[in-house]
Amino acid sequence: MSVGDVRDTLAPVHLSDYLATSASRFPDRLAAIDPDGTSLTYRELDEQASRIAGFLAEQGVRAGDRVGLVLPKSTAALAAVFGIMQARAAYVPVDWTGPAERLRTILKDCQVRALFLDSSRPELADTAETVIWLGEDRNTSFPPPIFSWDLALQHLPQVVDTSARQPDDLAYILYTSGSTGIPKGVMLTHRNAMRYVDWCSEVFVPSENDRFSSHAPFHFDLSILDIYVPIKHGASVHLIPDELGKSPKDLARFIADRQLTVWYSTPAILGMLAEFGDLDRQDYSQLRLVLFAGEVFPVKQLRRLTSRWPRPAYYNLYGPTETNVCTFARISTPIPEERTEPYPIGWPCSHCAALVVDSDGSAVAVGEEGLLYISGPSVFSGYWNRPKESSAAFLQHNGARWYNTGDVVKQGGDAGFLYVGRRDRMVKRRGYRIELDEIESCLYRHPAIKGAAVVSVPSAESGVRIVSYLAAAENTRPSIVELKGFCNKHLPSYMNPDIFVLVDSLPRTSTNKVDYQALRRTFASGKNSSAIAR
């Protein structure tokens, strides 16, 4: 295809231009590879994406439309991502293992025009007008219009109409836990992602010789670095499926076998690798960068990891989905034996500005705590179809729009910002954001539950544990097994509470609000049910 050559001379406007440029510079280099060895060169990936784009356009997908992805990770899923963007639509990746009801809510909320699906979730085939079915086991009894992936790939490549494209076009929507019980869609434009990717280029200096891990699922914001940084530079993307990602020994072997040069994941995965991965058995001499984000890395685990892998440069990246990564800190190794306090989230990236303000709205001094606000071209445009929450998320200050991260940080002097915690009811677990209120509203839907209060408590092993206190309706006593199953039907697995405590009634404050402090105190005292129940 000569399309890429033409686009090569232009500055990138959309994320998909990265692929076009690399396809013309490095047509025969490896672009992406599945764990099973299926791989695509840059020319192949670009061609597949262009054919998908052409097919989507023929099916009536237009600029600005949303297209859903309910797929395990694969080179085909990656081609679909680029195909959707080449059709000038926005992709909406969702957790293909998630509860059907939640996925339906999301796909309906953003009104996907088309959907990529495979045999893992056939029941969702009725959520879009057009369905593209991956895999050979397509069930022909589904109502049309369901098209096979192979058919879509037979379409002629789409020549991108570059005239009407803008960097501020919507690129993708990532759904995160919402406090009302309904997930909310974070809208990110091409500019939002590209300014962040440019910063990665500046700091991590990637080249076409790099081999990047792609550990995070596509619906998780870590995937933005995993996908677009390597594709921009002609490097290779090594896709890691969910199953492998959770088996430390296999994962460790995979990193060594593939001679990965850049690793990016949550600290939880790295901690697991350090503990169970037998990291001293293999050769990791190619690994030059280890990046982590999503939650605080316990220093003990980080020390263990850096002693097994002494060579790479370590970076702590911080940023909510709404801003992309916005602050970062280089961790110098080895980590001193006596160090116990967690590493700072550091200073703002070059594409961001940060502001830390106290409750009066005035900037705090060094050593003081305040709420962190972020401004810059990587900050999202708003929540899908939620104008009120979108405007509430921002502060207008000095002629700029500042996003309230909700995170409390401390001005830590030379080291930059230190993460302190939250003032609201959002917690992070395995790198995922969880609104405790979303769990509560799920529990309230259980017919035998008349009161539910969910709290998080610190845990040495897993960071946090989620504890739900429940008051059952008269004469009923749901079993914990049943409650777990109920949550499993309605919530992703990382939101299923660890502990259920049945109580006669929930403790209340003088203003008749649920007394969460009392619940946390009760839990800490270890007296649990007996203390509140009777």
């Binding site: 969910d242 199953e243 296999d250 914990i480 697995s493 049910s529």
Partner: protein
């Protein structure tokens, strides 16, 4: 072989006690039956399954391959116990 049945019962009971203590604190043993769905019923997720794998590896001196740690062997106490037995027989 009556001896083997007794052994299987023991394995089931030990796994039940482990799961109750670790993942269902406060639940009565009678609600966690041999056939209660663990993975598909939300009691174990992929992370807690790792802990169960670690437990049975240490307790019964067996080694579990990653591809064996899925729903087919870990979705109920009966399945896990049968899996442990099959591994022990191989040794």
């Amino acid at each position: 072989m009556p001896g083997k049945d007794v052994e299987t019962d023991n394995v089931r009971e030990e796994i039940r006690q482990y799961i109750l203590a670790e993942f269902l604190p406060g639940e009565s043993a009678s609600n966690l039956r041999d056939d209660t769905p663990l993975r598909t019923g939300g009691i174990l997720d992929s992370v807690s399954t790792l802990a169960v794998v670690d437990f049975i590896e240490k307790r019964y001196g067996i080694e579990v391959e990653a591809h064996e740690a899925g729903v087919e062997n870990f979705d109920s106490i009966a399945l896990i116990a049968a899996f442990v037995e099959s591994k022990k027989t191989l040794v």
